[in-house]
């Protein structure tokens, strides 16, 4: 029953789209704590997939393995056909230009202004860029999130929602083909959370990027997902659309939807 729901949704997409992330048989543990056990996942171009799981279920570990911040114990993580654990430092940097990451805590640099925060990935990833071009990209990214007026402000002067938007602008500035969101609505009130979700959907439509969203916020899952993967006991427990999963009677799945 669970497998059928997952396969139907995925087959529809396979016929249309290129696979941008393919994770197979992924294992990760910290000491005796087995966090990911034979985890599998696929993400297709232009698709929004939400990985749903309880706190401490290994969602953030998964996303950090994808971006190369953590090394898996076993298994493969192919991004655009290249296995992340096999990549050297330079190849990994090159890959990270195509993969944006929105951190749960926003991770804005406290000692830099909004402008400097946005310029940082541009200056580090690209060898040389004219100041005029840098200014244009910064302005475009801030316009995308509706916060052009904050350009010379410090992160400490911004509200939680504004900081999230600026972090999103920083993620977008390199125009990544894949965006990884780590708990994008955590710590935000429901209204601001909804605004962020709307913004994510808008950005996905504008840039046709693929998104992998880690969340336990059911509003985020319902609004932002084309497909949902349930991460339970370190495994891909079930997969399908929000409506397909909502109909299932398995108690471990049901408790998320009640």
């Amino acid at each position: 029953m669970l497998a059928t729901a997952s396969i139907v949704t995925e087959k529809k997409i396979i016929t249309e789209k290129e696979k941008v992330i393919a994770i197979s048989h992924l294992y990760k543990s910290f000491g005796d704590n087995k966090v990911l056990v034979d985890f599998n996942l696929s993400l297709y171009a232009g698709e929004n997939v939400v990985v749903l799981g309880k706190s401490g279920s290994g969602k953030s570990v998964l996303i950090k393995c994808i971006i190369g911040l953590l090394e898996p114990d076993n298994g493969t993580i192919e991004v655009f056909g290249k296995n992340i654990p096999d990549l050297g430092h330079d190849a990994l940097d090159e890959m990270r230009v195509k993969v944006g990451f929105l951190f749960q805590s926003n991770a804005l640099y406290d000692s830099m202004t909004v402008r400097e925060n946005l310029e940082f990935p541009l200056r580090r990833h690209t060898i040389k860029m004219a100041q005029k071009e840098t200014d244009r990209l910064v302005k475009d990214a801030l316009d995308d999130v509706g916060l052009a007026h904050t350009i010379d402000m410090m992160p400490a002067e911004l509200s939680g929602g504004m900081r999230k938007r600026i972090a999103l602008a920083r993620t977008l500035i390199l125009k990544p083909a894949i965006i990884l969101y780590d708990e994008p609505t955590t710590g935000l009130d429901p209204i601001t959370g909804k605004e962020i979700i709307d913004l994510m959907i808008e950005i996905q439509k504008k840039y046709n990027s693929a998104s992998l969203i880690i969340s336990h916020d059911m509003n985020c899952v319902r609004m932002a997902s084309d497909r949902v993967i349930m991460l339970i006991d370190g495994k891909c427990y079930a997969g399908g659309t929000y409506d397909e999963l909502k109909k299932l009677t398995d108690p471990k799945i049901k408790e998320f939807f009640e």
Partner: protein, 256 residues
Amino acid sequence: MVQTRPWRQFLDEAGDISRFTGRFFSQWFRPRYEVAEFFRQCFIIGYKSLPLVGLTGFIMGLVLTMQLRPSLVSYGVESQLPAMVGIAIVREIGPVIAALIFAGKIGSSIGAELGSMKVTEQIDAMEVSGTNPFKYLVVTRVLASTLMLPILVILADAVSLYGAYLGVNIRGVTSFDLFWQQIFDNLSFGDVVPAFVKSYFFGFAVGIVGCYKGYNSRKGTEGVGRSANSAVVLSSILIFMIDLIAVQITDLLHLN
């Protein structure tokens, strides 16, 4: 078993700091060179520490002179006060006090800054942005503190000697020229150079310990405070240990 646990923790930490130091040496020569960030850190670590190091140096020179005077008067060698104070400041008091003040100000600020960057994922964000955070954050700060402390020590020594001049003249009268002549007549190569050289090691210890504690900070905001605190404690202990080793080496080389 319970008795051995602190020793094991101590040895584990010593091993971790050694590995961290090894990583610093393996990375500081490799491109990409973070020149702009290095000069920014020199400004923050060196220039911004100047008022504090200068003020404490001045007070230390003044107080030391006033404390020494009664003893020298009782032995009838009051005229040797500038020479004694000069040697004490240049050889020991200046470098050690400046290094301890430096550890309190810079060691704690590096520990807290990197610790807060660690717990708010800013270090991870840097890595994702195509930056080697170890080179950008650690190598620049350790180099800046290693190179800035000796300069601060020279300045602290100078300011401290001016404090000593004031101290000499509170209860007595010694001309400015005579005061400095007595100091320089009694200072030798073996007094100045070892003190200057050990300042580099003090600066390196403060930088590497502050960075290690901050970079490995855990347990959220509580961990940030703990990193800052333990950076000061550990670097202060290391300053005294380096001082102890330095005096043995200068003694062996007959520089005393």
